[in-house]
Symmetry: D2
Subunit: 339 residues, 4 copies
Amino acid sequence: MAKAAIVGGSGFTGGELARILCRHPKISLSTITSRQHPGVKVSKVHPYLQGFVDIRFDEKLNGRMDYDIVFVATPYGASMDVIPDILKNGIKVVDLSGDYRLKDPNIYRKWYGIDHKDPKNLLTSTYGIPELFKNDIVESQLVANPGCYPTCAVLALAPLVAEGLIESRVIVDAKSGTSGAGMEPTKLTHHPNCGANVIPYKVGSHRHTPEIQMALDMMSGGASEVVFTPHLVPIVRGILCTSYVHLAKSASHDDLYSVYEKYYADKRFVRVDAVPSIPSVVGSNYCEIGYEFAGNGNVVVMSTVDNLVKGGAGQAVQNANLMLGLEESTGLDFPGLGV
Amino acid sequence: MAKAAIVGGSGFTGGELARILCRHPKISLSTITSRQHPGVKVSKVHPYLQGFVDIRFDEKLNGRMDYDIVFVATPYGASMDVIPDILKNGIKVVDLSGDYRLKDPNIYRKWYGIDHKDPKNLLTSTYGIPELFKNDIVESQLVANPGCYPTCAVLALAPLVAEGLIESRVIVDAKSGTSGAGMEPTKLTHHPNCGANVIPYKVGSHRHTPEIQMALDMMSGGASEVVFTPHLVPIVRGILCTSYVHLAKSASHDDLYSVYEKYYADKRFVRVDAVPSIPSVVGSNYCEIGYEFAGNGNVVVMSTVDNLVKGGAGQAVQNANLMLGLEESTGLDFPGLGV
Amino acid sequence: MAKAAIVGGSGFTGGELARILCRHPKISLSTITSRQHPGVKVSKVHPYLQGFVDIRFDEKLNGRMDYDIVFVATPYGASMDVIPDILKNGIKVVDLSGDYRLKDPNIYRKWYGIDHKDPKNLLTSTYGIPELFKNDIVESQLVANPGCYPTCAVLALAPLVAEGLIESRVIVDAKSGTSGAGMEPTKLTHHPNCGANVIPYKVGSHRHTPEIQMALDMMSGGASEVVFTPHLVPIVRGILCTSYVHLAKSASHDDLYSVYEKYYADKRFVRVDAVPSIPSVVGSNYCEIGYEFAGNGNVVVMSTVDNLVKGGAGQAVQNANLMLGLEESTGLDFPGLGV
Amino acid sequence: MAKAAIVGGSGFTGGELARILCRHPKISLSTITSRQHPGVKVSKVHPYLQGFVDIRFDEKLNGRMDYDIVFVATPYGASMDVIPDILKNGIKVVDLSGDYRLKDPNIYRKWYGIDHKDPKNLLTSTYGIPELFKNDIVESQLVANPGCYPTCAVLALAPLVAEGLIESRVIVDAKSGTSGAGMEPTKLTHHPNCGANVIPYKVGSHRHTPEIQMALDMMSGGASEVVFTPHLVPIVRGILCTSYVHLAKSASHDDLYSVYEKYYADKRFVRVDAVPSIPSVVGSNYCEIGYEFAGNGNVVVMSTVDNLVKGGAGQAVQNANLMLGLEESTGLDFPGLGV
């Protein structure tokens, strides 16, 4: 059994990591830290874990630093404070904050509003979408777990980008459940405001924009520009991305199907033969992808993930599996709720 | 035109009062106060009022105190600070906080946790359910506008209580939209917590319990005990009360119908010939009531109101109409959205 | 008082028309027809109208044909069966089906799958967005009331199109409440399927696509191509359109604001100084519009309407007002619920 | 590996059974029947099972009848047609319809409106709440899987009933997600009707009433009368029961806690140390129970289950485990989603 810790385990992502790891056959969760709740039972903060996770929050990692893998689920800005030291101990790290996603510190500063404090490790970190960058992940000590929106959008667009099928601009119109907003009550997530509403937010300024751009550029050399608009919809879990591309060359529906099927041939967690559905992926590590033509070379690509699983904790465990030499789907091999 | 003011107009209730009053043919809204937003346009805080309410928030009422009616929509505790002075100026007041509802200061202290500072006016105030206490309201200078739950529950039960049909305990199981929780984000109303949930809260300890008890006692002399449980459901507007009574004497479905029909014979805003529905009353001042037998003298009474209208600002205007000598339904004569 | 009838009044649109007309100071609703419910009280089918609409459904219009205006709210295909005869009697008609929207019978056949049976009246009908085509509407005997999505999208884009600011493609990503699907239960609107979901539907094939295209072409001569994707979201009322355009020439945020403000200078029902919100317009005839830049000449325009009011019955009454020589906002002069 | 079949596998319950069984370490799902979809891939009807359940629907069970256990998930009325034959083959059966729950054929006729066709097996069947009737279940060939509401209500009340703590009437006010209504679209579950609504239905006449009554009588000899009202709330999964009892003898909060804790001491799937929450149990086989006093011997007991798991397919598997001699929680040992 690999020995794991979660740093910053009191939020939704931390709880979801614990929920997945408590059933993982090859990874044992030995420590969960929380600066807010040291000494408190984890199942007090995450009551659904009662009977599954019976340890208490520690204030920090144990001094022996004898973990095989550490998941860091602190807010951005805080991750880069704790990660260098963990790495120094030779421990593998999956970071779920945004701190190690954007490879260019200048772009990081521009979108996150603070200086990057750990450019050295940023340089060697790997952007962790296993379906796209598996070989790099396997060899990495530090993986930056992608954002929920980028996971959903990039998986939908990667095959087209890789084939050079996308011309100029890509529009990503995303609809997200409210759990993506985290555990802290805000005006945006106050039910009277959002419960019978669809709310576009951070239009033109969301941090996942440069992340999607970077991921697509990694495959295409920067051929297309990403326009990304997130919306809050009154559901709790799940993301639908509706992406709009114009084909660079003529292709039929079947042509595109071949592109997708080939690209994701042996990828367990991507379904391309799908009418993408949120309930179908909720509670699972799956991403569903479908597409339709809308006249004249316009293609509408739809994709869904559970923002807390494939868009968060599930993908983090998938990355950890690869980093630890385990089969990629270990502990993640369950279907979505469906209904 | 009667001249009106709203004290504490930046919350949901204040906005709803302004929304109703801006269309009222006999009451003119001249002042809205807000300690938080003095000088700010009302339509900045309540954007849906743009083009309807074009005044700015004042910090306090004007010095001339030349209003015919003042609606006080501050939190409990604050109302009793400002109301005595308004009354001294001979102005009529509808208080939408809880400060003047419970006639007994000891009960007020027990449930609200603070001492009542204005027992003199408390004594002469009227509990304002117009369908039940119209004659008193007409003659009052100070009306305590009922809580949303009590309005819905008491209207459903009053005819049975008045007829002496209820034996011992009454169970009121209420389901409310989240707008009843007000404008401030809290953990309870955080969408990830409440958006796919039904949350019982303040079980056995909600302040509306003694209020329902008091209102029923006013009609029956205290013959029955009220058990009240509120629940938050993932809708924004509307309350359904499901009330359970055991009949003190035998009665048929038709007998009860006669009781209800007679009791509410000329009451514009109560529909007894109804399958109570929330959408049917949303946006309106109506209360819908229906009932079914559930074996052996058990009757299940169902009732619905829009918590912000009949359960709040609409009933306040209905009370004001009566206090000002206007026809009760003036400015309130519109149907619910239905869908 | 103008005398009005509704043909096909048992659906959501018919109920909404009755809800608005029952409070209209200059139009009197004298007949509502329903082939399904002849002889039944209207308030039996639309219980929220009890006390407001106390007539019964007729099977057909009265033989005297003495109406000033008839609203036709039958499904597409059925409207063109009944409208020619009404017109022959010199009566003005607002058609809420899709039958008279697409001016080209070939395009109608392509998207609706049936032949147009009344091309003569189709030719002289007017597409009824009052903010854009007021002069034509005033003079028309037959107005085709626009679809809910086109109303929301076209109002958002018209000023940019009219100024020649839009280059090539326009993406309209729309999110709609379920009331747009009408009164008949379907798999799509079955709550277990749609209640915790966002469902793209009729992607690339929705009938409102050519309607939006036609409306924009009327202003621009066909300079841009419309890609339209509707989604069902788990709310009941309201539409948000997120539209993506690339500017044909450089313009600042302020430049665009001037364009919008000038275009809608004296239009009562359009708010351009808005963060568009669904609750803000629900229950009202308003359209709210806002926009943001998203890098490099990309503009994201957001717009909201209540699909049953400005996107349906409200706009129909607005059109009727103009056709009858009344002030455009008569009977529509109320704000949205806001919360 | 025990060999299992599902009869009637195209509905929500059938899908949920397959979702659980496909991960079960000791039961192998070899046949799923559907009269509607013979020959169709199961994952075509339940797309979330793609990659987990790769068989096709059969029209009927295989002729060899070599199953160890058969789950019957047909509608009531149809179950008693197929079950006698399966039993004759010596196969164990868990019936998820209502056909074998009410032990008295007269009560069955009264509430289900049809005659019972298999009174012989009805007589020997066991009502399957494992926490209450484990010993009987272990020895049964036919287990009637309880309804979703009875599971939630009976688990909440059983300890009090067993202790003789309940006086006379019990009120069960239940709020259910819409998945309980099954896969067929109806007016009740049409989103525009139920999406912003709380709908009491079958008040005084729901079939789960006599089932709850029977289960409580099995423990108490019929000391109390059950009044049961179900409501539809706009969530998809989950039930909250709010039950109202009056104590037959004085007891403190701690006294009741002892009663609950003792009663469920070694029951894996009941949490009594809980603030019952729907998200906490969704996706899991858990039942959470909590209670509060509401003055004068009134106790409000709250309980939650996932209607499709502990209230359906999960409990069916729990029963099957016991019937097959497996550890009760085999294949069910996962926490709820929590968020």
